[in-house]
């Protein structure tokens, strides 16, 4: 299903780009480095896990 895979990759790409905007705010305006690092790590780890899950399911079709 190349179309479905393309849709998944497109949404994952939007998620990643939006993460850059959020990370800019976390690292520029947060008073705590720990919060900034943890926020970015959780955001991208969740995004990677969910994208891989969707791609793995698409591969089964």
């Amino acid at each position: 299903m190349p179309l479905l895979t393309a849709i998944i990759i497109a949404i994952a790409g939007i998620y990643a780009l939006y993460g850059v905007v959020l990370a800019y705010h976390w690292f520029r305006f947060s008073t705590s480095t720990g919060i900034a690092v943890a926020s970015a790590a959780i955001y991208y780890a969740a995004g990677l896990a969910l994208s891989l899950m969707a791609l793995a399911a698409a591969a089964l079709l």
């Binding site: 479905l4 849709i7 998944i8 949404i11 994952a12 998620y15 939006y18 993460g19 905007v21 959020l22 705010h25 976390w26 690292f27 520029r28 305006f29 947060s30 008073t31 705590s32 480095t33 919060i35 900034a36 926020s39 955001y43 969740a46 995004g47 969910l50 994208s51 899950m53 969707a54 399911a57 698409a58 089964l60 079709l61």
Partner: protein, 178 residues
């Protein structure tokens, strides 16, 4: 980490820094949590229609839908988190700074010189605010160009008020009294 508001005065010691109460984040993130749970609630509700409806939820199609749905709701949740975590009150030796992240790329910073602070008011309203001890802090300066700063959802607002007023008294003494 030095935020832009403190970078211009790196020698200024920070006496107190408070973020909003965690319950304020929970309320703001309520929509996100509801959206995250939606595919699973739908699965439970549709299971009432019999085995054919239940069988749908093991399929790759449902997995793809749930994963993409969660990606989109995580973006919303992360935005709410960003607006929550960047709001704070910072009391330094010379200033009190109210920082409010209203939205992405919309930030309001009110910086008041402590020797000019005339009045600090604390306002606790509602059952949750009373039980969990959070409220609104208002700070006002004296003079012709009076300035007002307000921040909602501050934990232990009485303590914040005390710190601001104590340090304000110190600043007034250092400048020769008023």
């Amino acid at each position: 980490m030095l935020i832009p508001e403190l970078r211009s005065h790196p020698d200024e010691r920070v006496l107190l820094e408070v973020r909003k109460h965690w319950f304020v984040f929970l309320v703001a993130a309520g929509t996100s949590f509801a959206l995250i749970l939606l595919p699973f609630v739908a699965a439970i509700l549709l299971s009432a229609f019999g085995p054919s409806a239940i069988a749908l939820f093991g399929t790759p199609y449902w997995t793809i839908f749930a994963a993409l749905w969660l990606l989109l709701t995580f973006m919303h949740l992360a935005t709410v988190w960003t607006e929550y975590v960047l709001d704070s009150i910072i009391v330094t030796e010379k200033r009190v700074i109210f920082i409010e992240q209203k939205a992405l790329f919309s930030r309001e910073v009110v910086s008041l010189r402590l020797e000019l602070v005339q009045d600090v008011t604390v306002d606790t309203e509602g059952i949750f605010a009373t039980l969990l001890t959070y409220g609104t802090v208002h700070a006002e300066t004296a003079g012709a160009e009076a300035n007002l700063a307000v921040m909602h959802g501050i934990p232990d607002p009485g303590h914040v008020k005390d710190v601001i007023l104590q340090q304000s008294a110190v600043c007034i003494r250092e400048r020769g009294g008023r």
